[in-house]
Symmetry: C2
Subunit: 127 residues, 2 copies
DNA sequence: TATGGTGTACTATGTTGCATACTACACTTA
DNA sequence: TAAGTGTAGTATGCAACATAGTACACCATA
């Protein structure tokens, strides 16, 4: 009943990798609003991780409003939410600045970066 | 003799913050190739961090080829190096994909993202 | 009503990374 | 020679991560 794929790699925390995989699945519409999401125990069993780690994933996704808890049932994928001012600032200022600094340091062209953004954006179409 | 500025914030490792500050200083030409870089003990004293942490910063920057060790003297800022294939792939694929996924999840427009890239790029001019 | 599945909350252990303190050594410059 | 350089090592305290196991309140369903 897992409707997204993961390939673990060392160095980065398991729970972060799962969270990212879920976000990617939502953005690419492999997971749609209203879809049921695996329970803590199911997630733990299918991915062969500790229940605590699975719980950590779900709690995190609920806090980020990607999931909604249905008591007694499980959790469900929610509608996409508009970013808060703080989230917008973090991405458009902090994160993109990091990206630009790293690109310039490695002598990567502005065009290459922008083309890569466009390319990744169109992989899952829509504006 | 510190020619770059830092304002520490909790949550992210000190040594990472310093490394990023140095990269930013290089990209914005506050630090130029040939400039001398603070020694381990100097960095440790001025930033009031442990010598081990300062050593970790410098070793990391040498490994990334941003600094060159001059034995008995200290270290010096080197010329910018072209990215390796692996570094290019990491930025243009992995990092930008992360950015795009997060932006789409938060319903941020493609135009906003690209404008932010252009904006940050031009803050330190040149192609 | 009873059963089973749900999220949630604990305690505990082992590993790893981060930052600190301190000591020591080989090297080069002045 | 003396002082400064990078480098290496041991040790401590703290926090994050992942694991194991137990327990509880809640709700849906048979």
């Amino acid at each position: 009943m897992i409707n997204f794929s993961i390939k673990f790699q060392s160095g980065v925390p398991i729970y972060e990798q799962i969270i990212y995989a879920v976000k990617k699945a939502v953005v690419s519409e492999q997971l749609r609003p209203g879809d049921t999401f695996p329970s803590v125990r199911e997630l733990s069993k299918d991915l062969r991780i500790n229940p605590n780690t699975a719980q950590k994933v779900i709690a995190h996704l609920v806090r980020e409003k990607l999931l909604i808890i249905k008591p007694g049932i499980g959790s469900v994928v929610s509608e996409l939410k508009e970013a808060t001012d703080l989230q917008r600032k973090d991405i458009l200022d902090t994160e993109i600045e990091k990206l630009v600094v790293e690109a310039k340091r490695l002598l990567i062209n502005k065009k290459e970066v922008i083309d890569a953004v466009k390319s990744h954006w169109n992989l899952e179409n829509e504006e």
